[in-house]
Amino acid sequence: MSNSVQLKGRLSAGKLAVAIGTVALTLGLATARAGEITGAGSTWVYPLVVKWAAAYQQETGTQVNYQGIGSGGGIAQIEAGTVAFGASDMPLTPEVLRKHHLIQFPTAIAGEDLVMNVPGIKPGELILSGQVVAKIYLHEITKWNDPRIQALNPQLKLPDLDIAVVHRSDGSGTTFTFTNYLSKVSPEWKSRIGANTVVAWPTGLGGKGNQGVAAYVQRIRGAIGYVEYAYILENHMTYARMYNRAHQLVSPSLAGFQAAASHVDFTKAHDFYVILTDQPGPTTWPISGCTWQILRTSAPRASNEQVVKFFRWGFEHGQSMARSIAFGPLPPPTVNAINAYWKRYLGI
């Protein structure tokens, strides 16, 4: 259907993009039945939703179809009403939510780290700071043996090798979290580049998806890239340790992501709009993030009820599953606040 409409040229630019983006989705969704929930969005949260979905189906018989099409895609789909929930790693502001009749709530806490391919450097050996990472991504530091990297790593012998900067080529919540962190630690980054799901990179190669970045980094000598923690674990990649805001040296870990979350109060923020990067605390991992689920208040009540039921089940029964794939559970007060939020906006 979207094809014929398109040919008649009756679609606005926004709708056209959604139409094209959803061709694959609509094929799958056209047959959606009762007892089926469809969602789309963030690739970051994909492993978690799929794991929960499999267990949830066994227990309740309700099938959850989730497609990792990217956070921006998830937002577009839920706005267009083609899915029951959208997932984004970048929270929407309360104004945007009200304007489009949307609500959002956090799902799980995760983190990302820098990975590299430098001969002789093993996982966790290299130490970086936010300022140095910003300078690498601004193309001010271009060699691995730059004195500013060497100063952080007196014990390592760094080679005279060009740094191949790798970033995401597609719009991504991972990029949002990363650039948001760089904006907090580097005034120059904030004024020149800023934080968003896509930015005007001053240098580097673009890889599509976490997999694309991981593939580039593993295959290009001298490469550095940022990927989410789960990918580092899966692919046994060489990751860096970082100095956090409290000037402590930390390794990426679930405990570090949760430490970051413990310093923010989800329950006080409007629509849970909080960002977990560069939080205080001695054990806090500096590049931590979160994924939000987005629902439409104007969607049929039955549809929202099913989605809420699924995530309520996930919060109650899915926490050890989340931990097993490096997603941090939300603190109990946050879960209570989400329940109150559902009641307030959806009456469920």
């Binding site: 040919l7 191949a164 005007a200 240098t203 190669l205």
Partner: protein, 317 residues
């Protein structure tokens, strides 16, 4: 001799019906083309209106601040395709000449079949092979290229750069491999159409294989050969997945072919689903329109060239 039968009423009705149906189908293609062109222009109008002519010459691509320009993807699309054609044409010519003139008879069919099979490989396979196998291997040789060609005055700047294995040159080489089967297959077909009389006569007066190809086969088939090259170029311009994997997807322009770049098709593949603002979407659709126009111009140039060649051929004949 039989007298021709007068057509029955049914047949007389059938004929215009048949003609009408085929005409509708043919015009449908034309209408579709115009409709696609117009809807691209319509949806991309926002970008053209906002940035004006600067859209075509601006290097900016900053979605966060809503600043867009098409220069880098246009440049990358043209340069990577040009590299592909420069590599693919001599190689295809060699393949076609070998198959039609030099190879032992038993070898011709298998080699020709293999080349046609190469054309059937999906482009994403070339992309994956390019990223996982070719680029890491090629990056070992890029320092050598930098050292040996980088110092040549004039063109040296094309070959100086960091050895990432991924970039414009790699994209051009992968594209060349992808279009070689098309160009080689067409060249082979048309070389076989050269009248044996001409060819045998040339051999008869003592011409070498090279002289026969140069003075008999190529002049006889040049129109079709040029057509084949343009067909390959057209495919290279629009190729998406393979290029996305190996071009580096960087919105930066650099004289060096070893540096990463971007192409229009790769930009669309990467960014369309995540384009978050109306102007961003419009700019991407405008890019699509520009690719459409570039392809159209190339095809028109090809047609003009073919006409000119045909006329020249007519005069010499």
């Amino acid at each position: 001799m039989e007298k021709p039968q007068t057509p029955s009423r049914l047949t007389r009705l059938w004929d215009p019906l048949f003609k009408g149906t085929t005409a509708v189908l043919a015009y449908l293609v034309l209408a579709l083309l115009v409709a696609i062109c117009l809807s691209l222009l319509r949806e991309g109008w926002d970008a053209f209106k906002t940035f004006g002519w600067h859209f075509l010459v601006s290097k900016a691509w900053d979605p966060a601040n809503n600043k867009f320009g098409a220069l880098i993807p246009i440049y990358g699309t043209l340069i990577s395709s040009l590299i592909a054609v420069v590599i693919a044409v001599p190689v295809s010519l060699g393949i076609a000449v070998f198959i039609t003139e030099l190879a032992p008879r038993w070898l011709r069919q298998p080699v020709a079949a293999a080349i046609e099979l190469l054309a059937a490989i999906p482009s994403i396979i070339f992309g994956m092979w390019g990223l996982f196998a070719f680029a890491p291997w090629f990056s070992n040789y890029e320092p050598w290229i930098s050292d040996h060609f980088g110092s040549i005055p004039g063109i040296g700047v094309l070959f100086r750069g960091p050895p990432f294995g991924i970039g414009m040159l790699t994209a051009g080489i992968i594209l060349a491999i992808m279009i070689i089967p098309f160009i080689a297959a067409i060249m082979r077909e048309v070389f076989l159409l050269t009248p044996p009389l001409l060819r045998e006569s040339a051999y008869g007066v003592g011409a070498t294989t090279w002289e026969v190809v140069r003075n008999v086969v190529l002049p006889y088939t040049r129109t079709a050969v040029a057509g084949g090259i343009f067909l390959g170029l057209g495919r290279a311009l629009g190729e998406t997945m393979a290029v996305t994997f190996v071009i580096g997807n960087a919105h930066s322009v650099s004289a060096s072919l070893l540096n990463p770049g971007y192409s229009i098709a790769a930009a669309l593949a990467n960014e369309f689903t995540e384009a978050f603002s109306p102007l961003y979407k419009s700019s991407l659709i405008a890019l699509g329109f520009i690719l459409f126009v570039i392809t159209f111009i190339i095809l028109v140039l090809a047609k003009l060239l073919l006409l000119k060649l045909e006329r020249a051929q007519g005069e010499t004949a």
